[in-house]
Amino acid sequence: MTGRERDDARAGRLMLAPALIALAVLAAWPGLWVLWLSLQRRIPVFGIERFVGPSHYAFLAVDPRFWNAVQVTLIFTFISVALEFLLGIGVALALQGQQRGRRTAVALLLLPWALPSVVTGRMFEWLYHPSAGLLNFLLGGQAINWLGEPMLALPALIVADVWRTMPFVALLCYARVLTIAPDIYEAARVDGAGAVATVRDITLPLLRRVLMIALLFRTLDALRAFDLMFVLTGGGPANATETLTVYAYRSLFQTLQLGFGAAIGVVVFALVMLVAWGYLRAMAHQEEAPA
C-alpha cells in the first residue's frame, strides 16, 4: 500500500464515521438495550426490577400463546406475501398490455398504498360489518361473521393486507417492465414465441431481481404485521389473529411487563434478521450465477 492509498483509506474511514455513528446510536444501542431488558424481570407498577437471565425465553418456549402467535405470524406472512406477488405480477403484466388510460390505472393503483393503515382498517371494518357491510350485502344479505369467527378472521385480515400492499409489488414490477427493450419482444415474436412463452422466458426472468427485492421488503413487513389486527380484531377471536407484534405490544404497553415484552421483541428481531439474511444470500447467489 502506498502512502497515498493509506491516506485515501483514512479519509474513507473518516467519511464513513458519521454514518456508522448514526447507525450505532439509532440501531445498535436501542437493540442492545432491548436485549438487556429482555434478561430482566421488570414491572414498574410493582417496583420489580431484577436480572433473571434467559428465563423469559424459557417461558416463551413452553408458552402456548407465544407459539400460537408464531403460527399466526407465519401463516399471515406466507399467504399474504404469496397472494400479493401473484396479483402484483398479474397487474403489472395487465398494465403492460393496456393501450389506453394507463396513467389513470397507475394512479388508482397507488391509492390503497397511499392510505394510512388505520384508515384502511376502518374501511375494512365497514366492509366486513355483519349487518350493514357491503360484503354481506353483495352476498345476498348474509350475516357472515367475518371478524368474529376464528376460521374467517385471519383470511379476512389477509385480504385487507393484500388489497393494501399488492400495488407496491405491482408498481415495482411495472417500472421494471417498462425498461425492457421492445426489440426483445419483437425478436421473440419473429422466432414464433407465443404470449405464455414470452412471459415465462423473457418477462419473468428479467423481473427476477426486482421481485427478490420486493419479496424481501414485503416479507419483513408482514412478519411485523400489527396495525390491521390492532384495529380490526384486537388479536381475537380466541387469539386467532394475534401476531407476535400484537403479543409484544400487549405485554409491553398494555400490561407493562417490560422484560417479558422485550423478550418477544427480540424474537421478532431475530426472526426478521434470519429471513433477511436468507434472502440476501439467495440474491448474492443469483448475482454470481450466469444470467
Partner: protein, 427 residues
C-alpha cells in the same frame, strides 16, 4: 427525555440563581399554571372550560390549562404510562379510567390525596366508585364520571306481547323466542352485546359470571373460587350465540356496533352503557320513544342482577410542583357544583348520587332517576394494581369460550392457571 429533563432542570437552576442575584424570586415571575390532561368530553357542549375558568376565579394567580387526549382508552393509558414512568411533570391533574387507579397508585405515580379528602367527602358518591378510589386504605383519586352496564329494551315490542323487562336471563331468552316467533321478521335479532376480544368482553363476561353467582377472586386470593358457576356464566353467553338468540357476530362486536344495530330497530334487547339513551332519542332515530332501560338480568338460582361499573376518576401526578392547588382542582371538579354542570352540558353521568334526583338535571335527563337505581347496584371490576394484566389474560380465554374453541369449563380452567401464575410472580 430523561437527560433532556435533567438538563432543563439544570438550566432552570442556573436561571433562578441568575435571577436570585438580581434579587428576584422565580415563583413570583408569573401566574402558576396547572395542566389538566383529560379525554375529550363527548356531548352537546363541553362544560370543562367554563368550570376551569370558575376555578381560576376562585384561585387568583392560578391558570389551568386543559389538554385533551384521544378518546381511545389504550392510547390514553400508554400516554400516561410513558410520561409517568419517565418521571415527567408535564401535567398535574389527570383523568383516569377507573380500572387504572389502583395500578397507578401501586406504581407510585399518584399523589396520596388522603390529607385533603376526608372520608365524608367521598360518601356522596356511588359506593362502587369509592372502592377503586381508596385502594389500600388511602385516597388516590376522586370519582368524576360514572358508568354502569344496563339492559335496553324495545318498549313497543314488549308492550305488544304484554311482557315486562326480564329479571333473569332465562326469562329474557323466553321473551325473545316468543317475540321473534310471532313477529316473523328475520331481520330482528334477540339480544346484542359486546364479545370482541377487548376490555368490553371482560365486562360482559364478568357480568354473566357474577349473575351466575361466581366471583373472580375468593377471600384468600384464589381465582374463580366457584369454578363451576364461573363456567356456567360463560356457558350462558355461548348458548345465546348457539341458539341464535344473539347473532353470531357479537363475537366481533363492540359498544358502537351493537348500539347502531339496536338503534336501527334490529334487536329486541341491548346490553350497553347509559350514553346510548340520548342517541336513541334524537329526532331522526328509528327507535325514538320506543326504548326503555332496565337492570341487567340475573340468573335463576344466581344473583338478582349483576352490572359492572365504569367511568373515570381524577388523580394528581405525584411529581406536581403544586400539590395543594392540584388537589383543590380535583376536589372542585368532583364537587357537586361542577358535576351538575357536567351532567347538564355533557353526555356523561355524574358520580354524585344526589344529582340523579336534582330538579334541573332530571329535566335535562328524564331517565336519571331510573339510572340512579341501576348505578347504586353496580359492581366494580376487581380492584387490583394488576387489573390490566388480569383482563388481558382473561380476554383470550373468554373469547375462546364464546366462539367454541374451548369449552367454558376449559376456558375457566386455563384462566385460573394463567392468572394464578401471573399473580404468584408479583408477590
Amino acid at each position: 427525555m430523561f437527560t433532556g429533563g435533567s438538563r432543563g432542570r439544570a438550566l432552570l437552576l442556573a436561571l433562578s440563581v441568575l435571577f436570585a442575584g438580581c434579587g428576584q424570586r422565580p415563583d413570583s415571575a408569573g401566574p402558576i399554571t396547572l395542566v389538566f390532561k383529560h379525554a375529550k368530553i363527548l356531548g352537546p357542549s363541553d362544560p370543562v372550560p367554563a368550570l376551569l375558568r370558575e376555578f381560576e376565579r376562585r384561585h387568583p394567580g392560578v391558570r389551568v390549562q386543559a389538554e385533551s387526549l384521544s378518546w381511545n382508552s389504550d392510547d390514553q393509558h400508554q400516554f400516561f404510562v410513558i410520561n409517568l414512568e419517565g418521571r415527567g411533570a408535564g401535567f398535574d391533574v389527570m383523568m383516569l379510567d377507573v380500572i387504572w387507579v389502583a395500578e397507578f397508585a401501586r406504581a407510585g405515580w399518584l399523589l396520596d390525596l388522603t390529607p385533603w379528602v376526608p372520608a365524608e367527602e367521598l360518601a356522596p358518591h356511588f359506593p362502587s366508585t369509592i372502592e377503586p378510589a381508596t385502594w389500600n386504605g388511602r385516597v388516590w383519586a376522586m370519582p368524576w364520571l360514572m358508568n354502569v352496564g344496563v339492559l335496553y329494551y324495545r318498549t313497543d315490542l314488549l308492550a305488544k306481547y304484554r311482557l315486562h323487562p326480564p329479571r333473569t336471563w332465562e326469562a329474557l331468552v323466553d321473551q325473545i323466542v316468543r317475540i321473534r316467533t310471532a313477529e316473523r321478521n328475520p331481520r330482528l335479532d334477540g339480544v346484542v352485546w359486546q364479545g370482541r376480544q377487548y376490555e368490553g368482553l371482560t365486562v360482559n363476561a364478568l357480568e354473566a359470571i357474577w349473575a351466575n353467582g361466581a366471583r373472580v377472586f375468593g377471600t384468600d386470593g384464589v381465582v374463580f373460587p366457584e369454578e363451576e358457576r364461573a363456567a356456567g356464566g360463560l356457558s350462558l353467553l355461548r348458548a345465546l350465540i348457539v341458539s341464535g338468540v344473539s347473532p353470531s357476530w357479537v363475537t366481533a362486536a363492540d359498544e358502537e356496533l351493537t348500539r347502531r344495530h339496536f338503534g336501527d330497530g334490529r334487536a329486541v334487547f341491548l346490553r350497553n352503557w347509559p350514553y346510548a339513551m340520548d342517541l336513541f332519542q334524537t329526532a331522526n332515530s328509528p327507535v325514538r320513544g320506543r326504548v326503555g332501560i332496565a337492570p341487567l338480568p340475573g340468573r335463576v338460582g344466581g344473583a338478582a342482577t349483576a352490572a359492572s361499573s365504569g367511568g373515570a376518576h381524577l388523580g394528581v401526578n405525584r411529581r406536581t410542583r403544586h400539590p395543594e392547588l392540584a388537589a383543590a382542582l380535583v376536589r372542585f371538579m368532583a364537587g357537586g357544583e361542577a358535576q351538575k354542570a357536567m351532567a347538564l352540558g355533557g353526555a356523561l353521568n355524574p358520580t354524585r348520587m344526589a344529582l340523579y334526583h336534582d330538579r334541573d338535571v332530571v329535566r335535562a335527563h328524564p331517565d336519571f332517576p331510573a339510572v340512579h337505581d341501576l348505578m347504586l347496584r353496580a359492581r366494580p371490576r376487581p380492584v387490583t394494581p394488576a387489573y390490566l394484566m388480569l383482563s388481558s389474560t382473561l380476554q383470550p380465554e373468554f373469547s375462546a369460550a364464546l366462539v367454541g374453541v374451548k369449552s367454558p369449563r376449559q376456558a375457566i380452567e386455563h384462566a385460573r392457571l394463567r392468572v394464578g401464575y401471573l399473580l404468584q410472580g408479583l408477590r
